[in-house]
């Protein structure tokens, strides 16, 4: 019945959120970052699956965390209280 075809056309929006081939992932347009803080909701992904390569960020940077952050500077104003007591 023709309702099937019409139904498909009408649910385009829903279909785009459904599983699609992973190959489409690379066609994703980057989203603007200006409105990132407006809504806290975690949006549905526009594609269902993608490869590990497609998760790699172009900057190629892998050093994301600082685990050695101790500060050896002893010239802060508050530390003047203790200077020279050693």
């Amino acid at each position: 019945m023709s309702g099937s075809a019409e139904g498909s056309a009408n649910t385009t929006k829903a279909v785009t959120e459904e599983p699609t081939a992973s190959g489409q992932a690379s066609a994703l347009p980057p989203k603007p970052t200006a409105s990132l803080e407006e809504d806290d909701e975690f949006e549905d992904f526009p594609v269902d699956d993608w490869t590990k390569e497609e998760t790699e960020v172009p900057d190629g940077e892998t050093h994301l965390w600082e685990e050695s952050w101790d500060d050896d500077d002893t010239s802060e104003d508050f530390s003047a209280q203790l200077k020279g007591r050693a």
């Binding site: 994703l28 998760t55 500060d71």
Partner: protein, 560 residues
């Protein structure tokens, strides 16, 4: 009254069911407006031939059109599907999207009926795409209503007035239906063993466990019912195939919610593991999702002594985060308690942001421990004694010096949170004497006899040596200070300085300390399991199986 379009539609449904074509069934069962013209014809026929109150006649019509499901060849029946079709027609006939609350009730009933029909052993799986699409619509509508309480105010009032009635909310009723759909997928009895086929893919309805779980979790998190998420994670831990068998979008979304759940429960190491995996698994162009993960991931990591790098904060998804988090990281490194505290007071530059995202308490309370560690370290750098390894004399610092530093910073911290210096007037004076003072009349102060002569405190009590000893003991206990306190001398002595150097031994790397004592197991995150071999036959793990890890070797080491 003739209903040719309805009959044609039912014929089409019957054909699609015979072909077991789930996606096409979902395609033709349209619910979201605007409806195509053919569906409008159908709605008119339904309103004329089966107006409200004629629902049983409508069900009879569905039964006549789908007689093969009353009694199927295998002896079972699928009358739940016939009832579902009745509900679908009722939805089309009655829905009025101007009234979102009524639409919600109709949609919830429809999803409930679809979940009932999903339970059929052989045919239920054909309805799965439809259940997912309808559940997604229900989730969206429920969240929209939850965020517009004015639309459901009358329901809340009615609920409050009806003391004897059910206390469940609109969100609860939607969540119940979604949870049933989730259980239907998780406990699919039509598949055997662990629910994984020979091709390595989940079988039957288990293929949609995480899609539905993610909808439930979205509803819980958006509607302030995070506690309810626990049951989803427990059920998945007990009965789901490994997460890695599912598509990336489902894995990332699930780990995001799992990480947030552990974050809310102050389990930051587990939160960090799940959120980091979600972040790493995100498509590089999905900046919105990455930006949602990052504030929680950064906060969880900071509490564990792992600060975001400049490279991370330069990424598009981290826009605006450097100015919020980096000053806190700097204050922690410097041991600057006063500046650290200023970020979380009512006048802190980003207090609203931290509060809204619920990051304020973890940052303020968990990271303060790290500030204390830095203060102790700085005390040692500035005023410590290096000791004498030859004379077996350990490096030390005087706890009085740490006390002095703390008092300076506490005083400064207190000053920063006060607009004016505190005098010894009663707080109420700001309301009481304004008019009198304007008229040049000296006001007469009323002092309650009970408090006459009692000096008002000028601020919180200053830290004492007892506080310092408590704090240093706590840091030692947590492994953030390597050494011991000499209570008699009131000095902290570093242990192991000869081997590692006094700074490394006395002030171990926080992240390394926490990592070494934490497990990488995250309940709710079903990882790949080692299949066991019994009688030479490998079989997938299942309930009741015990896997002994006592003889396990680190990865990469050769067999003994």
């Amino acid at each position: 009254m003739a209903t040719p379009t309805v009959e044609k539609f039912l014929l089409e449904v019957s054909r699609v069911l015979r072909e077991r074509n789930g996606p096409q069934l979902q395609d033709i069962l349209v619910i979201e407006p605007p409806l195509p013209p053919l569906y409008n014809l159908m709605v008119n026929e339904l309103r004329n031939a089966f107006p409200s109150g004629q629902d049983d006649a409508l069900e009879d019509k569905c039964t006549r059109a789908l007689p093969e499901y009353v009694e199927m060849e295998d002896g079972s029946s699928w009358t739940a599907f016939i009832k579902f079709m009745r509900q679908y027609f009722c939805f089309l006939r009655d829905v009025n999207v101007e009234n979102l609350v009524e639409t919600f009730q109709l949609l919830r009933n429809l999803v409930k009926q679809s979940v009932n029909a999903l339970g059929h052993g052989s045919m239920g799986v054909v309805l799965l795409p439809t259940v997912i699409a309808f559940s997604r619509a229900l989730t969206k509508l429920t969240i929209a209503l939850h965020k517009k309480p004015q639309l459901i105010a009358h329901l809340i009032r009615r609920q409050a007035a009806d003391e004897s009635g059910s206390r469940s909310t609109l969100v609860d009723t939607a969540a119940d239906v979604l949870r049933d759909a989730f259980s239907g997928c998780l406990n699919d009895r039509s598949v055997t063993g662990a629910g994984v086929g020979s091709d390595g893919r989940p079988m039957g309805k288990k293929i949609s466990i995480y899609v539905i779980a993610n909808l439930c979790l979205k509803l819980y998190f958006e509607c302030d019912k995070i506690r309810s998420a626990e049951q989803i994670f427990v059920n998945i831990q007990n009965g789901s195939p490994p997460l890695s068998l599912y598509p990336a979008s489902q894995r990332v979304t699930y780990l995001y919610y799992l990480g947030r759940y552990y974050f809310v429960n102050n389990h930051f190491y587990r939160a960090q593991l799940a959120l980091q995996s979600a972040y790493d698994g995100c498509h590089s162009k999905c900046v919105q999702q990455r930006s949602r993960i990052l504030p929680f991931l950064i906060t969880a990591c900071m509490t564990l002594g792992r600060f975001p790098s400049q490279a991370l904060l330069r990424r598009p998804e981290a826009a605006g985060l450097a100015e919020k988090f980096l000053p806190i990281c700097r204050a922690i490194s410097r041991g600057d308690l006063a500046t650290f505290r200023s970020f979380f007071g009512p006048e802190g530059p980003h207090t609203d942001y931290f509060l809204r995202r619920r990051l304020l308490l973890p940052l303020r309370d968990r990271c303060e421990v790290l500030v204390w560690r830095s203060m102790a370290r700085k005390t040692f750098l500035l005023a410590g004694s290096q000791g004498d390894p030859g004379a077996r004399k350990a490096p030390t610092f005087d706890l009085h010096d740490l006390l002095r530093l703390t008092q300076v910073l506490e005083r400064r911290s207190f000053g920063q949170t006060q607009k004016k210096p505190i005098g010894k007037t009663h707080t109420n004076s700001i309301f009481m004497f304004q008019n009198s003072q304007q008229n040049g009349i000296k006001p007469e102060l009323y002092v309650d006899p009970d408090v006459k002569g009692v000096a008002e405190p000028a601020g919180p009590p200053e830290p004492t040596m007892l506080d310092i000893e408590s704090m240093v003991s706590s840091l030692i206990y947590q492994g953030f200070l390597g050494g011991f306190i000499s209570h008699r001398q009131l000095r902290f002595a570093i242990r192991g300085a000869k081997e590692k150097g006094s700074l490394n031994a006395g002030f171990p790397n926080v992240w390394e300390v926490i990592k070494s004592r934490s497990s990488d197991a995250v309940p709710g995150w079903k990882r790949d399991e080692v299949s066991s071999v019994r009688n030479g036959v490998s079989r997938p793990p299942g309930p009741g199986m015990v896997i002994h890890l006592s003889g396990a070797r680190p990865a990469g080491t050769p067999p003994m």
